[in-house]
Symmetry: C2
Subunit: 97 residues, 2 copies
């Protein structure tokens, strides 16, 4: 089963109100177990980049970070505000960094 | 099965030489089928952010974008250069345009 199939099967059952949702997963496999893990730092910048495209409510962001020998996995789930019908979503103009 | 289990099960079988690998998946579910899809634009910026942490060879980047009704999924697989033993990986200093 590839990752796309995984997402298809794991989509929320048809919730009463369909939501806009963004799920991000990063898996970093390191040959050298002691190589630095940059996922925690990357996570903040990732959200900053996404905020340029869509407004994100920080308390609608769920983050999971797991580490195993030589592999770290970061999962970020964001519930996005449903777009007002008829208003095309423009990239947000908030400056980053 | 949650996503972390998926990555564990899908790790490459012990290849002859363990590689540093980064896998990124974004799934964007849109309640409004006609809402704009920002994943293609987001993909370029994501790689630019990652390049601040680790050098990326553009021909070692595989991108898959799939769209279904109301859901788009972007999968980026990056084979990273194995760090030289003993050299801690510092954030790359390349300025992002």
């Amino acid at each position: 089963m590839n990752l796309m199939d995984f997402f298809r099967r794991n989509k929320e059952p048809t919730a009463t109100t369909a939501k806009d949702r963004l799920q991000i997963v990063l898996a970093h496999e390191r040959a050298d177990r002691n190589a630095p893990d940059f996922l925690p730092a990357l996570q903040k910048e990732l959200l900053a980049v996404i905020k340029k495209y869509v407004p994100i409510d920080d308390d609608k962001v769920a983050v999971k970070l797991e580490r195993e020998s030589g592999c770290s996995m970061l999962e970020v789930n964001v519930e996005l505000p449903a777009p007002q019908p008829g208003t095309p979503r423009q990239p947000a103009t908030t400056a980053v960094g």
